[in-house]
Symmetry: C2
Subunit: 412 residues, 2 copies
C-alpha cells in the first residue's frame, strides 16, 4: 500500500507565505502543499487560524476541519502588530514566491501588507487574494461565507425539490471551489515567472467562482431563456428516462441508487428491463422511446423501484453497472470512510499522524502521478515551525531567533 504513496516534488523549492483562514484560502494553499511547495501559515499567536476552533473552546479544538484544509503545511506565529513581527513577515515575503490571503476586505492593507507594500519588498511576488464579492460589485465590502457565495452564485436556485424552496448544496463549492480556481491561476503565474521573473496580483471573488460551477444551468438558460429549475434527483431539461434515484433495501435515509439510461444508447432500456425481470416489456410500444418513457415517467420509475427495493444499493450498483448502464449508489460520509478499502489502497484516503490529535483518516489529493498518490503529512501545531523557518528561510541562528522571541515577535 505505502509504496503507492510518495512525496510529490512538482513545486519543490516554491515558498508560500500563507495568511489564509477557514477554507477558501486554506484549500488553495493546501493544494500547493500537496504538490510539494513549502507552505507556511502565518498565524495569530493567540488563537491561530479561526478554522482551528469552529466550535467553542481552546485552540485546536476542532482538529478535523483544520486537518482537512491544512495538511502538509507549516505554522509560524507572528504578532503582526509588533514591529519585530511585521519586520519578520516582510523578511519572509522577501524570500517567498507566493503570498495568499483571504482576510475580510481591507484587513491586509491595514496591516501594511497590501499588494502595493508587498510589491516594493518583492517585485516578483505572486500575490493572491480571495474575496467574497469582487471589487466593483455592489457588495464588494460585504462579508461572505460559503453559503452566502452559493446563494448569490446561483447554486441554491437549482438545488432541491421541484416545488420546494431553494436548498443548500451540501458541498463547499463557495469555499473549496474558489480555492481551486485561485490555485490554478497561481500555478499559471508561477509557470510564466520561471521565464520572466514577473510578479502579479491575482484576485478572485467567491460569488464569481460559483458561476464557474453553474455553467450547465446557465447553458439551459441560454437555450430556454428561462431560469434553470430545481428537479430533486433529476436534471431538469435533460429528458432521459429513466433517470434519477431509486430506493433500495433496507430503506435507510441514503439507501438509493442513481440510474442513468442514455438517450444516445437505446440498448440501456432493454438491458435494464432484462435485469429487473421485465423482459416481457422489451419492445412494448408504451415505453419504446425516451419520449414515451418521459411521458410515463411515474410508471417507469415504479417499474424499476419494485426491483431496486429488493436489492441493497451496492448490489444494485454492481448489477446495473455490469449490465453496462451507468449507476451509482448514494454513499454517506461513514460509508465513504469505511466501505471501500480501495480508497486506502489507492492513497485517495490516507491517515494523518499528528503530534497531538488522534490519527485521522481523510481524503488526500485525488490526482495520481505515475500511479502514485501524494503523501499526507500532519497539519501543523500552532507555531510549530518557527525555528525551522527562521533558520531555513531567513538564515537566522539560534541566538537571533531567541532575540526575536524575547522581543515578542512570535507571541501575543
Amino acid at each position: 500500500m505505502s509504496d503507492n504513496i510518495i512525496d510529490f516534488t512538482f513545486l519543490q523549492g516554491v515558498k508560500v507565505v500563507d495568511f489564509t483562514q477557514f477554507e477558501a484560502g486554506p484549500s488553495c494553499t493546501e493544494t500547493l502543499a500537496w504538490l510539494g511547495a513549502d507552505v507556511v501559515k502565518i498565524e495569530n499567536p493567540k488563537m491561530g487560524d479561526p478554522g482551528r476552533r469552529l466550535r467553542p473552546g481552546q485552540p485546536d479544538d476542532d482538529p478535523y476541519y483544520f486537518h482537512q484544509f491544512n495538511a502538509n503545511k507549516k505554522s509560524v506565529t507572528l504578532n503582526l502588530k509588533s514591529p519585530q513581527g511585521l519586520a519578520t513577515v516582510k523578511d519572509m515575503i522577501r524570500a517567498a514566491d507566493v503570498v495568499v490571503e483571504n482576510f475580510a476586505p481591507g484587513v491586509i492593507e491595514r496591516l501594511g501588507l497590501g499588494y502595493e507594500d508587498v510589491k516594493e519588498i518583492n517585485p516578483g511576488i505572486i500575490y493572491a487574494q480571495v474575496k467574497g464579492f469582487g471589487e466593483g460589485s455592489p457588495f464588494e465590502k460585504n462579508l461572505a461565507f460559503d453559503m452566502i457565495a452559493q446563494a448569490c452564485g446561483g447554486s441554491f436556485s437549482v438545488t432541491g425539490d421541484k416545488d420546494g424552496p431553494p436548498t443548500r448544496p451540501g458541498m463547499s463549492i463557495g469555499d473549496t471551489g474558489t480555492g481551486m480556481l485561485m490555485a490554478i491561476t497561481i500555478l499559471g503565474a508561477l509557470y510564466k515567472r520561471r521565464e520572466t521573473g514577473e510578479g502579479h496580483q491575482l484576485q478572485v471573488a467567491m460569488q464569481d467562482a460559483v458561476l464557474h460551477y453553474m455553467r450547465v444551468s446557465l447553458a439551459t438558460t441560454g437555450r430556454t431563456g428561462k431560469a434553470a429549475e430545481r428537479g430533486g434527483s433529476k436534471v431538469p431539461g435533460i429528458s432521459n428516462a429513466p433517470m434519477g434515484l431509486y430506493p433500495c433495501a433496507p430503506g435507510g435515509p441514503n439507501d438509493y441508487v442513481y440510474i442513468m439510461t442514455s438517450r444516445a444508447n437505446p440498448e440501456h432500456w432493454d438491458r435494464l428491463l432484462k435485469l429487473i425481470g421485465r423482459e416481457n416489456l422489451v419492445g412494448d410500444k408504451r415505453y419504446a422511446t425516451p419520449a414515451d418513457r418521459q411521458e410515463r415517467e411515474d410508471e417507469v420509475d415504479e417499474l424499476i423501484s419494485v426491483w431496486t427495493r429488493t436489492q441493497t444499493k451496492m448490489e444494485a450498483m454492481r448489477m446495473i453497472g455490469e449490465a453496462g448502464i451507468p449507476a451509482g449508489a448514494v454513499l454517506d460520509t461513514v460509508e465513504l470512510n469505511d466501505s471501500d478499502p480501495s480508497f486506502e489502497e489507492r492513497g485517495v484516503m490516507q491517515t494523518m499522524s499528528h503530534p497531538i490529535h488522534r490519527p485521522f483518516k481523510m481524503p488526500a489529493w485525488p490526482v495520481r502521478v505515475d500511479g502514485k498518490a501524494s503523501r499526507l503529512k500532519s497539519s501543523p501545531v500552532l507555531g510549530e515551525h518557527i525555528d525551522e523557518i527562521m533558520s531555513e528561510w531567513l538564515d537566522l541562528n539560534e541566538a537571533a531567533v531567541a532575540a526575536l522571541k524575547d522581543e515578542g515577535a512570535f507571541g501575543s
Copy 2:
C-alpha cells in the same frame, strides 16, 4: 469596460492535444486555454465532441453547453482509424506538451494512443486522464457521469431536506470539480518540467475528486462518528442561530435571502433585531445566546421572516449586509445573467462572438490578474483550425495538407 479584458499569456507557447469530450475533460483543458495555452480539440470528423449535441439533431445543435466548456480552443478533425489520421495526431503529440483524454475506460489504448505508446513518441509529454472510478476501485470499468460521481462521492447524501430523500446538488462538481483538480496537477507538472523536461502520467477519478469537495461533511463525521446529515438550507452540525433562508417579497420560487449570524460575533443578533424593528428584544433572555436561539429556532426564524417577507431579496441583502451581518440573495440563472451589470464591467461575464451561432453571454475565467480578466474567444467550429494547426504545429505547406485531405485524414 473592454480595457479590463486582456489576453492572458501565462501559458503562452504551451501546446495541448485535447481528446476530451462532454465536461470533465473539456473544463480542464479550457482552463489551460483561459491561461493562454494553445489547446487543440481532436474531434471525430462526423459529429465531433458529443458535447456539441446533447440534444438530438445535427452537429452544433446545442451550442450553449459546448460554448461553456470549449471557449478559446481550436478544433482539428481527424479520422483516428485511418493510418494518415493516426500518423497526423502522433505528429501533433510529438510537438505537444500536454495530452488530455476522458474517453470511456480502454478506448484511448485501443486507438494506439495509451500512455505507453505516447511516451515512446514524446517522453516529455504530460499525459492526463480523467476516469469515472479509479484504477483499483471495484467499479473501475464502470461508466460515470456527473450524477453518478456525485452519488458515489457523497454529495447527494448531504443535500436536501432533513427528512427527505438524498438530492442532487445543482452544480456539476463531478465534472467541472474534477476538471479543476486535474488542471492543477497538469500545471504543477508543467512547472517542474521547465526544469527537468520530464513527462508524467496523471490520473484522476471523478468519484475520488468529489471527496475533495465533501471535506466539511467528512470533518463532521470525524467529530461525531456518524454520517453527516441533510439540513435543507441549514448546515447540520453548525449551531449558529439564526442561520438559513428567509422568504422575501414577492414570494417567487427563488425569493429568499440567506442570513448567517456568527456565534463568534454576538453583535450580529442585536444588529439584526434593530434592523427588523424588534429592538425591544435586545437583551431578552429568551434569545440571549446562540444556544438559546437554537432552542427556539422556529420562533426566531418566524420573527425574522415577518420582516423579510416585506422586503425584496435584493433590498434585504443590501440592508442586512450594511448592518454588518453576512447575507446573500438567492439568485437564479436569469438574474445571474441580467441583474448585476458589474459582472460584465468586471469581465466575469463576457459575450462570445461566434462565426455561426448568435452572441452568447457566459461566465469567463473568474480570477483577475492585475485587475484584468482573460478575454473570452469563440468556441471552435468543427474542424475550423485544420490548416492553421497543420502549418503552425507541423510546418506542413498547403500542398501537404491538401494531400492529407485527399487521403482522408481529416474526414470520416
